[in-house]
Symmetry: C2
Subunit: 195 residues, 2 copies
């Protein structure tokens, strides 16, 4: 019986998260009730509490899940020793990963303000962990005389903001394909940090 | 009497907009009621309708006001003929203007989704107008052989996203002053578009 219940949770959990993500993205965290989320999933409001203790936990799960996915996908990438190759790899990875999940990206940025201080600190730590990877690439490039970057931490945040910005304007049916957009951004990033 | 009423509106209007901006930034548009805004201003909910017909008009006024301020402040700047000088001017102006009003910037980005289609189109037009100014500088630089930019429109959006990103991490009490941050970003922008 425990197994059946487990399986049920396994199916419903992702559906709860998907529904919450969709509603938070559309209306904002503060405007969405647990009742609405339950309605979207097709369960009673009371049943929702089998899957999550409250709305804050749901938000935290979504934001932490997004960062876990990001860090895992990044860890699965080849990590070239050459700083220029590593920077190109990071640039293309970032654009593609964020393109594939616009709602999670939007909610992750927009709802930071609605996390409790403890939860905010955890998410901030994961974000820093990702930024540090780019900062390390930039530092390595500076050490090897390949890059000229005065402040690698700030340059990392500048590059990440630029790349994440693709989500605000890119449309799959637009004039340029995603690989073409990657190429344009990679050209700008490469030059921006060049020695 | 008309004059007294006019003066009263002149005082209350800005206070209504300030209260709405603060509440939208904190909680999101969908979670804020006209009653809450009235409470924040210290007037009866009914009285609020003397100043604005509804919450959508208030949001639209805020977003249009932000873009009007941006375009007016930009129009008041010197517009150097030299593309490099014009690009530097744009870069520093953008960072400073956005630094000074983080809530308006946050709400302007986050609440686009809550505008009616007609209102969205107007705001989009104003945003495009601003982006076009940077695109024009980039195109001039390309024509004069000073810049190497494959897609000036996309480069303009990339630069704007990078510069607006300063708002997500910069703190006035931090290690670097805003002029120092301007200098770092200007260095990256200059190189990113260099011929």
């Amino acid at each position: 019986m425990a197994r059946t219940q487990g399986s049920h949770s396994d199916i419903t959990g992702p559906r709860v998260r998907e529904a919450a993500l969709r509603l938070f993205a559309q209306n904002g965290y503060a405007a969405v009730s647990m009742r609405q989320i339950a309605g979207e999933v097709g369960v009673q409001a009371g049943a929702l509490y089998n899957y999550t203790p409250d709305k804050q936990s749901l938000l935290f799960d979504l934001l932490r899940g997004h960062m876990d996915d990001l860090l895992q996908a990044r860890a699965a990438c080849a990590q070239p020793d050459d700083p220029l190759a590593a920077l190109e790899q990071f640039t293309r990875f970032h654009i593609r990963f964020h393109h594939d999940r616009p709602e999670a990206v939007f909610v992750s940025y927009m709802e930071l303000r609605n996390l409790t201080p403890e939860n905010f600190e955890i998410i901030e730590g994961l974000r820093r962990c990702y930024e540090d990877q780019l900062e390390d690439i930039l530092r390595r490039g500076v050490t090897e005389g390949r890059f000229d970057v005065a402040e690698p931490k700030i340059a990392a945040m500048a590059v990440i903001a630029m790349l994440t910005g693709v989500n605000t304007w890119f449309r799959d049916e637009g004039r340029l394909s995603l690989p073409e957009v990657e190429e344009i951004y990679w050209g700008m990033v490469r030059k921006a940090v060049a020695a």
